[in-house]
Structures are given as C-alpha cells and as structure tokens.
Symmetry: C2
C-alpha cells in the first residue's frame, strides 16, 4: 500500500455565514488548501467531499459534480461520501484509498455543510434522519434526546456528574477562544453552562454543539509527490472505520460506542501505536457526553473515568492528552459534513507547530475521531510528522 | 495496483415494490450476491452502497450504518456514495479502490433506491435536486425537460428522428421482456411509443425510464481471494470517472456529454482496449436520447450517427454492439441508486454466459456506463471474463 501525506490544509471560518452558499464555502476552503500546498487545480487527480445532506439543508444534491464544476476543476472525478456527521472523516478515508491504490497521486478532500439556510425548527428534524427513521426519528427521538439517554446512563453507571459534563464545554470554549476560525471564540464559566436552558435532561444548551455553516479541505499526496512538493508533509499513518447498531435500542451498552472501539483498534494497529503514543486528539464532542464516552472508548482513560479526567485537567491544552485543542465541535462549530475534515486540518496545523496560542507542546502524533449519528459509524485517523 | 474480480452478483426484481422497504431491498440483494459468491458476511471487509437520496425519498439518512446493522454485518466499515443516478457506479469504483489499495480483500458493493414511497408529484422534484438548484431546478427545470433540450438539439444538428428515439424504447422493451428482474417485461410497438403522451417535447412517456424500487449487489474480491473462492470470476479491467458542468447552460455542446467522453478515455486506457473490443454495453438510457448520445460518446458510433445505428439494428441483441441487453433503465427500471450496480450485475451474468434468452453471443468484454444528472458525473467500468 502506498504511503499518503497531507500537503495542504484550508478552512473557512465556522459560524452563521449568511453571505455564503454551499458552493462558495466549499471553494473558499479548497482554494485555501491548494494555496497552502502550493499547487494548482490542474495537478489534482480526484476530489472527495463529505456532506451530510445538501438535499435537505439547501435542496442541492449531486454536489460532487457542482463542486468540480464551480471549482474550475473539470473533468476531475468528484465523489460525495455520506455517513451523517462522519461524512468528512469517510471522505478523508476514500481519498486516502484513492492514493494508496495508485489510482491517484494528488487528491482534494473537502467537507461542507450549509445548515443555516433551513429554518431552525427544521434543522433538528433533518439531523434526525441519521437515526433509525422507523424506530427512532419517526417516534420523535432527536439527537439531543438520544445523547441525553447515554449521558443519564453514564451518570448512573459511573457517577459522572453534571459538573464534569459542563467542564468539557468550559475547556472546549477556552480552546475555541484561541482559534480564529471557531464559531464561538469566547470563554464560558461552569456556572453559565450549568444555568443554560435545558435541552434534553441532563443536557443543557452549552452541552450541545451549534448549528454551523462551514467548509474544510485537505490536500493529500502520494509519497513521491509529497516529497517533491512539500517541506513539511504530515503523514496519515492509520485509518480505521467501523459500524455499530444505528439505533440505541439495539445496543448491549449505551455507555460505550462499539464503532469507536473497533475503528480505534484498526487505526492503532495500522499505525503501530497505542493510545499512550497519541499527543493530542480531536474527538467528536457533538454533545459533551460524547467527548467523555469517546475518550474512554479511544483508550485514553478506563471506562467510567472520562468525566474525572476532565475534572483533573488531563484533557486540557497543557494536560496529559489534550482533547479538542481546536475547540471541538462544541466551540469551533459543527457544520456536520465539514467536521471530519476540519479535525484533520487541526491535526495538521498542530503537527506543523503552527497552532499559535492553542499549540500542543511537542506534538508528534495526533488522532481524529469522527462519529455519525449516535455512533452507527465511526472513523479514526492517526497523523504523524 | 491489485487486480479486482467480481465473484458474486444479486438483485431484487425492479418495479413498484409496495411490500418492500429500503432496508429489506438492500438486504435481499446482498444475501443473493453473497449466496452467489458462496461466502458468508463474516468474510466481508467493507461495504459500499450507492443511493441517491434516502433522505428525500424515505426520510432515512445514514443508510450505510443501517445496512451494515440490518444486514447483520457489524462492525464492518460501511460507506454510502452519492452522485445522483451515478451513485451505484461510483460505489463500485470505491469498492474497486478499496481492494486495489490493499485495505480490503472482499467488498460488498450495493445500490438501492426506494422511490415509490414518496408521492408521484414529489418524485420529479426530488430527482431535480441533481441538477443545479440555483440555475436550473429552482426555475422549474426537471430532467425530462433538460433531456428534451438535448434531444431537440441532436435532432436539429444531426437529423435524428422521433422514430429513432422511439426505436431505442422498442429495442430495450424487447430485451426487458427477456429479463425476469425487469420492471417492464413486455414488448412495445413503435406506434405505441409514438402515440404515448408527451412529457417534454419531443420526449414522450415511452422515451422516459420509470420510477422504480429495487436494489442490486456485487461481491468484489482480490485476485488471491477470487482464485480461492470462485470458478468463474469476472475481472474489472477498467474504471474511469469524470465530471462535467452540472448545468446544461454551461456547456459548449449539449449533443455530447463531456464526462462520458473523458471517463471512457480513462477506462479504455486502463483496460488497454478500444470501443471495437467491447462485445456489449449497458448504457445509461434514463431517456432514449441519452442512449443515442452516449453510444456516440463511448466511441461505438461517430457523433450524430447513434440514431441511425439503432434504426439499422446495430445495437440490438444480435447486432454489432448490443446495447442494454438487460432492458436498460427504460425497461429494466431505474431505481436511481441501484442502477449503476445493476448494470454490473448484467455485465457479469452476460460474461458468465448465463443470460438465457437475452444472452449476447460470445461475450468476452462488456462495458457499463452510468450517468449522474444531465451528465455532471459519468462513471464507466469494463469487465472481462
């Protein structure tokens, strides 16, 4: 299998971007990434884009074709990949395989979502299509309520507290305050989190990632091309993906996400590393409980100890294993299809040592963890300088 | 790059399948294909599924996870690929790359669409999301009207006649009458086609493929696994994909589809063959004009001579280059996400010599051609015994 490197990254600011469209966001991120790589579109062999639902959010399907066209990249093959909020991570994995297989030497991997063009009252319903329609969504279950069930059970089983859930938000908002591309660039106090309005007990507003617009892009290259074009390539040394029951109702234990466990095992094996070797991780904190559950499933902490780890500062920027230095989905924002690619952008910036005030010291190996739905899909990548 | 073979195929009947759901259709096709390959789900390394819009048609997103779950295949990585009506062909290409790269040895590639659960009045609008929303669909353009523009121009430029358009339907209905999985298993006369109701001038009802439910599946294997598991593997010797302007308004010539031309060039080059070497082709005849245009763009006939070729019987089952022996989208049916995979199913059945009354004599090399939208995406595969 051929080695694959990231040689360029770019992203738009995340937020409520009323003056941008799905197509303009994608192209902005793509141009930034191509410029960062120092190459032109004519050198690109393939485009992969993660997008959860242009169909629902902006009534635009077939976005792969649209992006190749409006990006001025015709006739480059262009493919959209979807697995709900894991769409970006899966697009990255397809781009990786395109190069690993020898079918391509340079690949653009993008992720995008334009969410704020639909009414707020529709958005949660559109997102709920990623749950099991017949057994969950049709009956009124939405993602805040599904993750609330997971949170309540984790609290019951392991004594995880509302304060610990809140401290994930406090940490990620602090990191986001240091990220000029974040949707929320401000600190929040634990008191503010604890007093924010209840969304789905025990989850409050500040436990939930926002509805955001945004796009992110990375440029992948084969070993030969990376050495020719880049002075500081970042290597993708592990890629793991796994599926789990789409619905909560069909899981043995809702305090763990099996797809994360299985994808992590595959990614660690491929990379030849263990959780102890990871210097920082971008973890899928769509709700604060998911960062706690996932930090356990990824092997950073024992099951049930993720809440305590946040409380002890182990996941802070200067902690043992900094989690979500970018601000995470919670503060950086969560344009769903873009998230998995934006995690890769942060991993590369950190490994280049260019993250400014949110730089993780001596970062050599980073991990990204992207979840679809309530965990039906998980995809994990491991990056190395 | 590692060689890739098809070792099993399966499909549901195509049609208005009121008693089947998206998940049941997918699983039916998958089980048939696994049985055909003589393997169990535990041997599968990855699943790729083409689906245009579960979101719109049945309000179910994240179908990759659903399929792995309801197919009893957890924790196998499962990925949905979308490029409108080319979704199935692109899923096949991703499955091909997963094996070519060495990331997988056995891959399930499925395609599915459950279209008849939405109201007929909505369906054309949902399909139109594959056009450019801002410049085409929003202004009322639907696919019958876009292909009607292409037909009218082809008639103007090259003298293609309404009778020639109609003869594509007559031929494909005849082939469909020999296919037990076809949506329409009956012959139609040219008179019946010419007198059917006008949909978008010059296209009449019998120039249009139907709205169908259905699923199709192929099992791919590495060379080593194929030789171990199969007595009659069919090899994928070429894969080509290209993009073109998503909207008709931005093309130099609407009598040709650039993405087909470019994807064909790539596929022929990879396979080391020319159009003359192709023994039969499954061509994307969503509207009869598209079979004529594509038979030219694929290099079987000179530009402008596709209509005459149908009239002369060159594309009939016993002609020089039989096109759509399965009945094509026109008669076999067009469950949009399933179509690209169903084309591969037909190619394999033909190359195994198991197509019964619709068998193409001495078939050794076959081609499948799958289009998204009005040609924004094209993907072509070449198969060999």
């Amino acid at each position: 299998m051929r080695k694959v490197a990231v040689i360029g990254v770019g992203m738009t600011k995340f937020g409520e971007l009323w003056n941008s469209s799905l197509r303009s966001l994608t192209i902005e991120a793509g141009i930034k990434a191509l410029n960062d790589a120092g190459i032109g579109g004519e050198e690109v062999d393939a485009i992969y884009t993660g997008c959860m639902s242009g169909d629902m959010f902006v009534k635009q399907g077939h976005i792969a074709s649209l992006i190749a066209d409006y990006g001025g990249m015709l006739p480059v093959p262009s493919t959209r990949v979807e697995a709900a909020c894991a769409s970006g991570g899966l697009a990255l994995r397809q781009g990786f395989m395109a190069i690993a297989s020898g079918m391509a030497d340079i690949v653009v991997v993008g992720g995008v979502e334009k969410m704020t063009d639909s009414l707020g009252s529709q958005t949660t319903g559109y997102l709920a299509l990623a749950a099991d329609q017949e057994w969950e969504a049709f009956n009124g279950a939405t993602f805040p309520s599904l993750y609330a069930l997971m949170a309540r059970r984790h609290m019951h089983e392991y004594g995880t507290t509302e304060e610990q859930l809140g401290l994930v938000a406090v940490k990620n908002h602090h990191n986001g305050s240091l990220n000029p591309n974040a949707h929320f660039q401000f600190d929040v106090s634990l008191e503010k989190v604890m007093n924010s309005s209840l969304v789905a007990d025990p989850l409050r507003l500040f436990h939930c990632s926002p509805v955001s617009d945004g796009a992110a892009c990375v440029i992948l290259a084969s070993e030969e091309k990376a050495k020719e074009l880049s002075e500081d390539p970042v290597w993708i040394i592990g890629s793991g993906q796994a599926s789990a029951a789409i619905g909560l109702y069909d899981r043995e234990d809702i305090c763990t996400i099996d797809s994360t466990v299985n994808a992590a095992r595959a990614a660690y094996k491929m990379a030849g590393v263990t959780p102890k070797d990871i210097d920082f991780a971008e973890v899928h904190d769509c709700f604060t409980i998911n960062e706690i559950i996932s930090s356990e499933d990824l092997g950073f902490f024992k099951k049930g100890e993720g809440g305590k780890a946040v409380e002890e500062g182990l996941t802070s920027l200067d902690g043992e294993i900094p989690i979500n230095p970018s601000g995470g989905l919670k503060a950086k924002g969560h344009p769903v299809g873009a998230t998995g690619v934006a995690q890769a952008v942060e991993a590369v910036i950190q490994l280049r040592g260019k993250a400014g005030k949110r730089q993780v010291k001596d970062a050599e190996i980073g991990l990204t963890h992207n979840i679809g739905g309530s965990g039906g899909t998980a995809v994990i990548h491991i990056f190395s300088r």
